[in-house]
């Protein structure tokens, strides 16, 4: 059935790769930020503990 | 000895829940009315062609029971929470599973009574021809309701004590009920369609199997759910 498609359905292939790369790339960047923010928050809280 | 205590406890919870329902009546009446209303809406969506209605009857009946039943599950804990009775119940010595069993049986009776009304109305509205072996249909109904009530009672123990309980219960419950609902609907459909226990029998066996699996799983997990 695939051979009946123009270019062997290349647009679907491109779309699937683009979606995958964007989703995983965004996830990578978001997680880098999330862990960094959580660590900063923790450092703040830990400092508060030392003050008392 | 301990087991007899548990049985007594279960009986007490069932009795208490059903008495509360019987005294108020408003709860049961409104839930059953809602079930009928949903059937009417399905009829409008699928009708007026008689054959189309008959084909869809099994699915519509089960979904009406499900949608109305969901309200009953949250209610059964909500009554406890309002009076702070659940904490008191948990403080009594004895097994926690007895609470679950009690709630389960009370909900089972509640939903079965509702089912009788909804099915009776549904048979009329959807122009269903009842086959001669109608006792089998009662068996399918009972097995399906057991599956719905087991999971419904279990998930309501969590959702009723969380924020956004109205959304959370269906969101958690419906995906879990897919096998039970699918088996119930297919068994009912095959049976009403007249293929006497060819496909229907296999679905009934699967339904019974699902009931047992979920019954065991929820009984094991309930301890953790009710504890906090």
């Amino acid at each position: 059935m695939g051979s009946q498609l123009e270019n062997g359905g290349i647009s679907y292939v491109v779309a699937s790769y683009v979606i995958t790369w964007v989703v995983l790339g965004v996830m990578l960047v978001r997680l880098l930020g999330a862990a960094r923010r959580a660590k900063a928050e923790y450092d703040q809280a830990a400092k508060g503990e030392f003050r008392t | 000895m301990a087991f007899r205590d548990d049985v007594r406890r279960i009986k007490a919870i069932v009795w208490k829940d059903l008495t509360t329902e019987r005294r108020s009546k408003a709860g049961f009446n409104s839930v059953a009315s809602l079930g009928v209303t949903i059937l009417v809406l399905f009829g409008l969506a699928l009708g007026p062609d008689g054959q189309a209605l008959r084909d869809a009857a099994a699915g519509a009946l089960w979904l009406a029971v499900l949608f109305a039943g969901v309200l009953a599950f949250n209610r059964s804990y909500q009554v406890e929470l309002e009076g702070g009775a659940l904490e008191a119940l948990l403080l009594y010595p004895g097994s926690r599973w007895a609470i679950f069993a009690g709630k389960l049986i009370a909900n089972l009776i509640f939903v079965l009574l509702m089912l009788v009304i909804v099915v009776a109305v549904g048979i009329v509205l959807f122009q269903v021809r009842i086959p001669a072996q109608w006792p089998t249909l009662l068996g399918i109904m009972a097995l399906g309701v057991v599956g719905i009530v087991v999971l419904g009672t279990f998930y309501a123990a969590m959702s009723s004590r969380s924020r956004a309980r109205e959304v959370l219960l269906p969101l958690l419950l419906y995906p879990m009920l897919i096998p039970v609902l699918l088996a119930s609907m297919e068994a009912t459909k095959a049976f009403l369609g007249g293929d006497l226990l060819n496909a229907s029998g296999a679905w009934i066996q699967m339904l019974a199997l699902f009931d047992v699996i979920f019954l065991v799983a929820t009984f094991l997990a309930f301890e953790y759910v009710i504890e906090v």
Binding site: M1, G2, S3, L5, N7, G8, G9, Y12, V13, A15, S16, Y17, I19, T20, W21, L24, G25, M27, L28, L31, L32, A34, A35, R37, A38, K39, E41, Y42, A45, A46, G48, E49, T52 | E87, Y155, M158, S162, R163, V167, L168, L171, L172, P175, M176, I178, P179, L182, E186, A202, W203, M206, F210, I213, F214, A217, A221, Y224, V225, E227, V228
Partner: protein, 237 residues
């Protein structure tokens, strides 16, 4: 209400940043490699190349759900709060890959079957898995008490894990009774190396995602513990 004391723990072992970028670069490499080396399939044409994103995404989805199951059981068994945080991290990452798997499956189904969606056992049980992930994550967001949240979500995760194979089985039954299931997939050995490489890359990336998410969750909880300890110290002093 509950007497359970949350296990006090300090900051976690961080997931190295180089591992994340390394996994991502490795992933890009295996993708390009697989696409470049695989010849167009006689039956499916270039559509075969979607295998290198779709199959690994599906694999890591189920692996992540396996982590949720094991961590949930461990949490109920040992009452270790870290297991709960791990389960939550795996569920978040798993739901992302589950959604991705579904979208990629539709992109494959449309040119192959002519429809975006088909009610076969694999698609339906993946969709149900996604719905269970969604329910699991919203349960977590609606419950504040950490101990209660941990126990409840563990129960939901374990029951969900029991449910998915049952859904698969019942939908398979449902399909076979109604119509014959067509399954046009088969794998020739020339595609195998690309697929295995991509499976490895996706797995690495998923490990890093879960680790990093877990790290963030650990810091959040540790900060709460520290704040709690500080407040208690004030009261005593």
């Amino acid at each position: 209400m509950s007497p359970a004391t949350p296990s006090q723990f300090g900051p976690p072992k961080p997931a190295p940043v180089w591992l994340g970028w390394g996994a991502f670069l490795f992933f890009l490499f295996t993708q390009v490699y697989a696409v470049a080396t695989s010849p167009a399939d006689a039956m499916m044409g270039h559509l075969q190349k979607m295998m290198y994103v779709h199959v690994p995404a599906a694999w890591v989805t189920f692996a992540a759900f396996g982590v949720v199951l094991v961590a949930s059981l461990h949490f109920l068994w040992k009452e270790d709060e870290r297991a709960d945080l791990l389960a939550a991290s795996a569920a978040e990452v798993g739901s992302l890959f589950c959604g991705l798997t579904l979208v990629l499956g539709m992109l494959w189904g449309r040119p192959t079957w002519g429809v975006w969606w088909s009610w076969d056992a694999r698609l339906t049980s993946t969709l149900v898995l996604f719905l269970i992930f969604v329910g699991y994550l919203s349960l977590r967001s609606f419950v504040e008490d950490p101990h209660r949240r941990g126990q409840w979500s563990a129960a939901v995760g374990i029951l969900g894990a029991i449910n998915v194979p049952i859904v698969w089985m019942s939908v398979r039954w449902w399909r076979t009774l109604h119509q014959i299931q067509s399954n046009p997939r088969g794998l020739s050995p020339e595609y195998l190396r690309g697929l295995l490489l991509n499976l490895a890359a996706f797995t690495l990336l998923t490990i890093w995602f879960i680790w990093r998410r877990y790290e963030a969750a650990r810091y959040e909880r540790a900060a709460e513990h520290a704040a709690q300890a500080a407040a208690l110290g004030d009261n005593n002093g």
